[in-house]
């Protein structure tokens, strides 16, 4: 039934595309929508489609996980490749919903650092949770570290943090003096204890990226942890906001392939092509998120000035802490997420 249906779809699309396309090969690629997916279309998807001579159909879902679960559970898989946090790829893989990647067929990933890969996923693009501050408020002496963020005597002012434990617990531990390379596994008790200290000074626990940007732009808060892309956008609009990648929390979304993907072979080809350094180097032209493949910085396509604004450039990556999705998808990580709700309300 499924097979027949896909044959009908295939032959239908074949009839439509034979006029202009050399091949009827296609995949369905899913990302998170919005400006981010638009940027990818120009930076990655169109060049990949041209390189491979395939059609890349697009779908978007702000949170792919529930859909992923439904599609694989019902046996009606229509997506091939998803761009999603590696956590979902890993736990999806463990639950038989995500294909194991055959890295022998993905040579472009060969030079990528081991921590950017898992058996089920490979890094695609990077973003960072950075410390942003109001330049008018702090002048020449802005808060530079999470210890500064926690120091309400030296740096008085209102603060905002994300209403989510990921990266927030890490910041608390850095502020408490835990060395960056000894963060994982997180000491959850210690992190929450440190968070209790700053809680009275946190004016807003933000939930959406747009909200975090608005808080900075309107001067509602003097310092905040926010995603670098959102902060950069506020800076571009002319708001007196500064930030640095120092002690930022580097995070990435990765590509993974659904178990039972209708176009498995093409999907693998797609993943490899999407990691081509020259194509990955297009990311900075369209959006403030960095390429997943560090080789992109060696192509010469990214100017040094632009590289300095990218969370994943080798210089910036060194200043930051790579968030461990593996820890966050472990039982201890899930437990910390549940504990968060209690912490916020008390």
């Amino acid at each position: 039934m499924n097979y027949r249906l896909s044959m009908i779809v295939l032959s239908a699309s074949a009839t439509i595309f034979t006029a202009g396309m050399a091949s009827a090969e296609q995949i369905t690629f899913v990302s998170q929508g919005g400006a981010y997916q638009e940027a990818q279309t120009k930076a990655i998807l169109d060049p990949v489609a041209e390189l491979l001579g395939i059609t890349v159909n697009q779908d978007s879902s702000p949170d792919a996980w529930p859909v992923l679960k439904t599609q694989t559970a019902s046996g009606k898989v229509i997506w091939d490749v998803i761009d999603t946090p590696p956590k979902d790829c890993i736990r999806g893989g463990e639950q038989g919903m995500i294909e194991k990647l055959d890295f022998s067929k993905i040579p472009n990933a060969e030079k990528m650092p081991a921590e950017y890969k898992s058996p089920y996923s490979v890094a695609y693009e990077f973003y960072s949770s950075v410390l942003a501050y109001n330049k008018e408020k702090f002048g020449d002496n802005p808060p530079k570290t999470w210890a500064d963020f926690w120091d309400v005597k030296k740096f008085p002012g209102t603060r905002a943090l994300r209403n989510h434990p990921l990266a927030t617990l890490e910041a608390a531990l850095l502020a408490d003096g835990v060395p960056a390379d000894k963060l994982y596994p997180l000491d959850v008790d210690r992190a929450f204890k440190k968070l209790e200290e700053i809680k009275p000074h946190v004016a807003v626990w933000w939930t959406s990226g747009a909200q975090s940007a608005q808080l900075l732009a309107d001067g509602e808060v003097d310092m905040e942890m926010a995603w670098n892309g959102r902060v950069a956008a506020v800076v571009k609009e002319g708001a007196p906001i500064g930030y640095s990648f120092n002690q930022g929390f580097l995070q990435y979304t990765s590509l993974c392939i659904l178990k039972g993907a209708p176009n498995l072979e093409t999907a693998v080809k797609f993943v490899n092509a999407a990691l081509t350094p020259e194509i990955q180097a297009n990311f900075p032209t369209y959006i403030d998120y960095g390429p997943g493949n560090p080789e992109a910085y060696k192509t010469g396509k990214i100017s040094p000035e632009r590289a300095a604004e990218m969370p994943s450039s080798p210089e910036n990556a060194e200043l930051q802490v790579l968030v461990s999705d593996e820890w966050w998808s472990s039982p201890a990580g899930e437990e910390a997420q549940k504990r968060w709700a209690t912490f916020i309300q008390q």
Binding site: D63, W65, A203, W206, D218, E334, A341, T342, Q345, Q346
Partner: protein
């Protein structure tokens, strides 16, 4: 017979999904479970969220009575023409999206917002007041959104109170206050109770307003439902919370219907 299509729509679009919701709340890994309901007893987040939600609903209800009663009273006493003007002003914000109004309140109440700028600029206060990103801002915007639900039933009830009754009271020597308290107020009570039930129940389900204006620490039941799906992917838990909230609403209706007939709340009589 004529009711059949409407009945079908209600069964398919409301009753069946609700049954599915209830079913979902007692299932886990393909078996029966009460685990989702046990959390109401064991997880402090659950009862804290319900407590905060009911507290906000109570405050909002009380405030809409205080603010709405005089408006309805004035509108009911005016000539047809002027009462239409007043009611239009009550309804005007009602036609603006809840989202837009939440942002409007943000502009008014935030640290560098209009109210704080005016207060600090005039030297009345030294430091800006914390008016938003907390429960206060949430309550404020919720009152604004739900005020029409209080004013309209009150107005409808007051309009039906015969003017002769208050005149009779006055002619018997009652002071205006006495006449109001003994004659007008009791007669307007059904409208007030109708408004209170509507406002209270609608507040229980508020989502966008606390999410945008609550600063992350105003946590209402609807947010607990959405967080269970988005963050924890716990459909069973989310369903059980919805079921409990729904039962609460039914209980409220039942209690109120002991006081005044249900038909009057819904305005059919």
């Amino acid at each position: 017979m004529l009711l059949a299509p409407a009945l079908l729509v209600v069964v398919v679009l409301l009753v069946l999904p609700l049954l599915w919701l209830a079913w979902q709340s007692v299932r886990q890994d393909g078996g029966f479970t009460l685990a989702h309901y046990e959390r109401f007893l064991t997880d402090p987040v659950y009862w804290m969220t319900f407590l905060q939600t009911f507290r906000i609903a109570a405050i909002v209800t009380a405030m809409t009575v205080l603010l709405g009663y005089p408006v309805a009273y004035v509108a009911a006493g005016l000539s047809q023409r002027w009462s239409i003007v007043v009611l239009t002003m009550v309804l005007l914000p009602f036609w603006t999206s809840v989202l837009v109004r939440a942002y409007a309140w943000l502009i008014l109440l935030q640290r560098n917002g209009i109210i704080n700028s005016a207060l600090t600029g005039s030297g009345l206060i030294d430091a800006p007041l914390k008016l938003v990103n907390n429960e206060f801002g949430t309550v404020m915007a919720t009152i604004h959104i739900l005020l029409p639900f209080m004013v309209l039933p009150l107005y409808a009830t007051m309009k039906k109170i015969p003017g002769e009754l208050t005149m009779a009271g006055a002619s018997l020597g009652g002071s205006p206050l006495h006449v109001f308290l003994r004659v007008f107020l009791p007669l307007s009570l059904p409208g007030m109770i109708a408004g209170m039930v509507l406002v209270f129940v609608l507040t229980l389900g508020f989502y966008i307003t606390p999410e945008l204006l609550g600063g992350g620490r105003t946590y209402m039941v609807s947010m607990l439902v959405s967080r269970n799906i988005e963050v924890y992917n716990e459909w069973g838990a989310a369903s059980s919370i919805s079921v409990v909230l729904m039962v609460c609403v039914f209980l409220i209706f039942r209690l109120v219907s002991l006081l005044i007939p249900f038909e009057r709340i819904m305005g059919t009589r």
